[in-house]
Symmetry: C2
Subunit: 302 residues, 2 copies
Amino acid sequence: MTLETDFISGLRAIATDPGARGLMDDAAMLGDLVLTHDMIVEGVHFLPDDAPADVAWKLLAVNLSDLAAKGAVPLGVLMGAGLTRDAAWNAAFVEGLSAAVAELRVPLLGGDTVKMPHGAPRAFGLTAIGRAMGTVPSRIGARPGDTLYVLGNIGDAGLGLRIARGDMAGPDELVQAYRRPVPMLAAGQALAGQVTAMMDVSDGLLIDALRLAEASGAGVSIGLDAAPRSPAAVALGLDRAARLRAATAGDDYALLFAAALPLAGVPGKAVRIGQVVRQPGLHLHDAAGEVPLPETLGWLHS
Amino acid sequence: MTLETDFISGLRAIATDPGARGLMDDAAMLGDLVLTHDMIVEGVHFLPDDAPADVAWKLLAVNLSDLAAKGAVPLGVLMGAGLTRDAAWNAAFVEGLSAAVAELRVPLLGGDTVKMPHGAPRAFGLTAIGRAMGTVPSRIGARPGDTLYVLGNIGDAGLGLRIARGDMAGPDELVQAYRRPVPMLAAGQALAGQVTAMMDVSDGLLIDALRLAEASGAGVSIGLDAAPRSPAAVALGLDRAARLRAATAGDDYALLFAAALPLAGVPGKAVRIGQVVRQPGLHLHDAAGEVPLPETLGWLHS
């Protein structure tokens, strides 16, 4: 965490162009284009025995989720692929990528392919380019008094990862939520003009809500019971501990946003989970009262 | 080689958008934007004891060289950085990147930072976005009868790598040619409207000239003696073997292009090295007659 933070602080000093948004946002701006680049590395973001097609899907989906949070329409992607010599794995990855670009309707425009040194993990990077559809929300526009919303289930992917690892039993639909997140592109486009701030929930609801609030120079008050959970997730645990696990698990790729006015025409069901407040920090409560913050608020990539 | 080729063939079947140029070019097109993404991996493209600032420079320069070959003006870059926990190395990398974006005048817009698993090599990817300045040359437009030119020295970087590795003695300027290639952006912009095909020489003059010819459905005849070499390189060897080493060494980032007409207003000294011919393949000669092709024509990343 410290290392990554130091490095990013150094990069922020370089990235002085307004389009970089101070490297505080999920994406950069270049004219009316929205640009994002995320990496996924074997042993960090995916497991060596994950299906290659799922890895390809995730690489594409996590980047398109960043475009969704900016309300952008995907125009194309470039991929950097650091491969091993496992030809069967590579072929399955290409097949999965082919299906993913077809289903998510974004053209593969270019990129680079390299062979990693012997014994090194696979590493992928993907740049997604989208076109802004008017207002491009950032993380910094939320104001005290705004309502905080989530669109999409929280915690499904975290349960799915534990099931996939064999740490617990549970239904396949939760594993699918982990392996095949669906970027909320249409919803993001519908919301972009109505929100004061928006981001995707990639590292956990609590940490991402705190990041949005801090970027906006505000705090946030969240009702833990309000965070939307799927029936499958609820069936595996309803108590406060289960809800805290859901709110601190990553990989959900739901949309988190603040809005001052009642929302119109949002696809799906956006759920009110709290409020932007003047007092800095994260304030958590449920039906039983104040909820002490867990030690880690999300996935810190450390 | 086989693995990389199979994988890229699979990607070509996916990349059907015209902007992808069949993944046969150095860059992709999106409206009037030119996009490229190259990766560099420790142990493959750079050495563990290379100076971090040189790695940062090279990451930026190799991608801007692709924009140069398309005659594009750089607008911005996004970087994916897969780091180890070596804080001093990372700090030196950021410092070097800061100097590189300042000197090469391109804004850092965004990207991603991840920590590689323990023991894994560092891996970087960079996406460069440029704006086309009119015609965007590809590799496919060369016609039999066109003259083939090179702008920039051939073989300096290959000698520099051998000197850096301690395999031979030689002057520091050759090591600098390897460590600090300078993308020929102004020259590429001046040439773009005058050429029938253009690319940068990244893997070796012979292999890249053959690629340009094959992409254009033609062959190429090259005079080995004509390939421009620096005085420092010439001082280390003038014979056919030395010239062949120069013409098959990578990392020079010179511009290679074909043109039908005499060139006007090209910065620097473009040198005629041969001709595009009807007969497929690479035909090599020097003052002593036909030159048998070496076993490897360039760096094949295998």
